[in-house]
């Protein structure tokens, strides 16, 4: 794989890898640094890259392993410090988005961050990035069945949490989600 091909096929994955790295590392700056180092690593193994049928899934796997190693090497991450680090709605001029209840969306994100890393990753890869079960299995290094179990737990946990904080359709009511 030469530079032109690398730029065409691999570099465009950087946005996705960056968001994945940020999810795992809970730190914007560190995620950006990591992505650069991951790409340097991918570039150095460019000759083997064409052997992977699913380049995207492979790059995601490299990213996940890299981030998990990095997390292992340092002190425990305090999830709270990241919680509202970037704005969920930076483009508020979209009227459709104005309709969305941002408090509830924030509540979902906040709850997401309390989930185990595997569940967060499974949700990210499936519900946000839209990978197939087999791809997720290969990225996370587990079998498809385990992926389904993890994903199912995460989805149920989010739904139960939303039901608990509740009061759907009555925004005027005292809504515990607002107090978070």
């Amino acid at each position: 794989m030469d530079a032109a091909e690398f730029k065409e096929k691999v570099i465009p994955l950087s946005g996705k890898l960056f968001h994945f790295a940020r999810l795992l590392l809970k730190d914007q700056a560190e995620a950006e640094d990591s992505v650069q180092e991951i790409f340097l690593k991918l570039w150095k193994m460019r000759n083997e890259l064409s052997e992977y049928s699913n380049l995207e899934a492979f790059a995601m796997r490299v990213t996940r392993n890299w981030c998990l190693d990095r997390l292992k090497a340092k002190k425990p991450v305090y999830i709270e410090s990241y919680s509202l680090g970037y704005d969920l709605h930076s483009e508020t001029n979209n009227p459709l988005k104005m309709l969305e209840n941002t408090d509830q969306l924030k509540a979902v994100r906040k709850h997401m961050q309390t989930l185990p890393e595997q569940q967060q990753t499974a949700i990210q890869l499936r519900d946000i990035d839209g990978f197939e079960y087999e791809e997720i299995a290969s990225i996370m290094g587990m079998n498809v069945n385990a992926v389904r179990v993890t994903l199912s737990r995460a989805r149920n946990s989010i739904r139960e949490h939303l039901l608990k904080i509740g009061n759907y359709g009555h925004p005027a009511n005292q809504n515990p989600a607002r107090q978070i």
């Binding site: 530079a3 950087s14 946005g15 640094d33 992505v35 650069q36 946000i128 389904r148 989805r155 939303l162």
Partner: protein, 188 residues
């Protein structure tokens, strides 16, 4: 798609048994503005959250440019130094330390003791002469030590005797002839 079918899909969604296509159907259902049963509201929130995350996870052109630059440099064989934030932090700490220590040094150096000054030009001239004389004396004293360098020549003279070593070596060559005759004799 009616609510009953959606609920069936949601059950399978919760067990993570839905295909990507089926999840797309759910996504479209919840992104619409139509009324939905109250018990499905949590799903609407969840799917909207996923949508908002997907929209924010678009490509990052400035990151891509940075990475392309990185690849170009790496391809040209130029060294790639990862200036990540950790390194930058250390560099700034070091730079600050150097800055502080140089400032302290300069300030200390400028705080010379008061040497006094002469109002009368005649006295100033005499004092300057005295100081210069002192300097030249000390200088002469030091150059005397350097005169010993001439002794090095006599030492080098002695080295000429090394030539004699050569003539001795020539004589030793005769020994090699001895070896030849010895091997010749062995052949017979």
């Amino acid at each position: 798609m009616d609510t009953r079918q959606i609920k069936i899909l949601l059950d399978r969604y919760n067990r993570a048994e839905t295909s990507l296509g089926e999840e797309q159907i759910l996504r479209e259902y919840f992104s619409g503005l139509s009324e939905i049963p109250a018990e499905l509201e949590p799903y609407r929130t969840t799917f909207r959250y996923f949508d908002s995350m997907r929209r924010s996870s678009v490509q990052k052109p400035e990151l891509e440019r940075k990475l392309e630059g990185l690849i170009d440099r790496e391809q040209d064989g130029r060294p790639v130094i990862m200036l990540n934030r950790k390194v930058i932090r250390w560099i700034s700490v070091a730079a600050l330390a150097i800055l502080i220590s140089t400032t302290v040094l300069i300030v200390n150096k400028n705080r010379k003791p008061d040497l006094g000054t002469f109002e009368d030009p005649e006295m100033a001239y005499q004092e300057a002469q005295r100081t210069l004389l002192y300097i030249s004396q000390t200088l002469n004293h030091s150059t005397k030590e350097l005169s010993n360098i001439s002794k090095i020549n006599s030492g080098v003279e002695n080295l000429k005797n090394l030539d004699k070593l050569n003539s001795g070596m020539d004589k030793l060559k005769l020994i090699s002839k001895l070896n030849e005759t010895a091997t010749n004799e062995n052949k017979y």
